[in-house]
């Protein structure tokens, strides 16, 4: 695993998130569920807890955008870059952007599974960089996994617990 150089971690364990808009590829309930489960992947192994808000500025602002979306990192149309997220800091830090030129899916192995892409991006939102371990969730390339049996790979557990420690409730 790898962490961002510098002090890129949240100084609090209670974080908020907000879904600013939706992709037309899935129902809103499916997007909500995918995002919630993607954050829970990290909450399961750390003291971090996530609360959804529907207005105002959240620590993690989530949006579906295309091409140039005014953050200096334009998306590139279908395939290529699927999403990106910023490490923890004030303002845009923690925010996750998904390329809405992609086809996102809820359960199907075709297209890109939103839960898997989001879980990876939220690793960045919390302070993890890309891992060189091809089996890690934080590996940069998209790899489909069975989401019904998904378990956070050990490399990612080690990385996030290096930043935040283990879940005290387990």
């Amino acid at each position: 695993y790898s962490t961002f150089e510098g002090d890129y971690k949240w100084k609090k364990n209670d974080l908020t998130y907000r879904i600013q808009n939706y992709t037309p590829d899935m129902s809103q309930a499916e997007v909500d569920d995918s995002i919630k489960r993607a954050l829970q992947v990290w909450a399961d192994v750390t003291p971090l807890r996530f609360t959804r808000i529907n207005s105002g500025t959240a620590d993690i602002m989530i949006s579906f955008v295309v091409k140039d979306h005014a953050d200096g990192y334009p998306f590139d149309g279908p395939n290529g870059f699927l999403a990106h997220a910023f490490p923890p800091f004030e303002g845009i830090g923690g925010d996750a952007h998904f390329d809405d030129d992609e086809d996102f899916f809820f359960q199907s192995p075709q297209g890109y599974n939103l839960f898997l892409v989001a879980a990876h991006e939220f690793g960045h939102s919390l302070g993890l960089e890309h891992s060189r371990d091809p089996g890690a969730l934080m590996y940069p390339s998209y790899v489909y996994r069975d989401i019904n049996t998904f378990a956070l790979p050990q490399d990612d557990v080690n990385g996030i617990q290096f930043l935040y420690g283990p879940n005290p409730d387990v």
Binding site: F4, E5, Y73, F75, N79, G80, F81, L82, A83, H84, A85, D99, E102, Y112, V117, H120, E121, H124, E129, H130, R132, P134, P140, S141, Y142
Partner: protein, 75 residues
């Protein structure tokens, strides 16, 4: 098979966005080719490919895979 101009463009774009390659200085071909090789080596090492510093089919195949847009190395 030989790498054509379009493939080279894909590689330059990939390395500029993800590996800190500066926009190429067209007046300094030598400088740009050594920078390209350096960043290619970095990318090949990250993905566990054979580290040659040269653009080949295997490296291009990795570059064409769908992925996250966050750089692999600190810029």
């Amino acid at each position: 098979s030989p790498i054509d101009k379009d493939q080279e463009k894909i590689a330059m774009n990939y390395l500029t966005k993800l590996y800190g390659l500066q926009k190429q200085d067209h007046n300094s071909k030598l400088k740009s080719s050594s920078a390209l090789s350096l960043h290619l080596k970095e990318m090949q090492e990250f993905f566990g490919l054979e580290v040659t510093g040269k653009l080949n089919e295997e490296t291009l195949n990795v570059m064409k895979k769908p992925r996250c847009g966050v750089p692999d190395v600190a810029a």
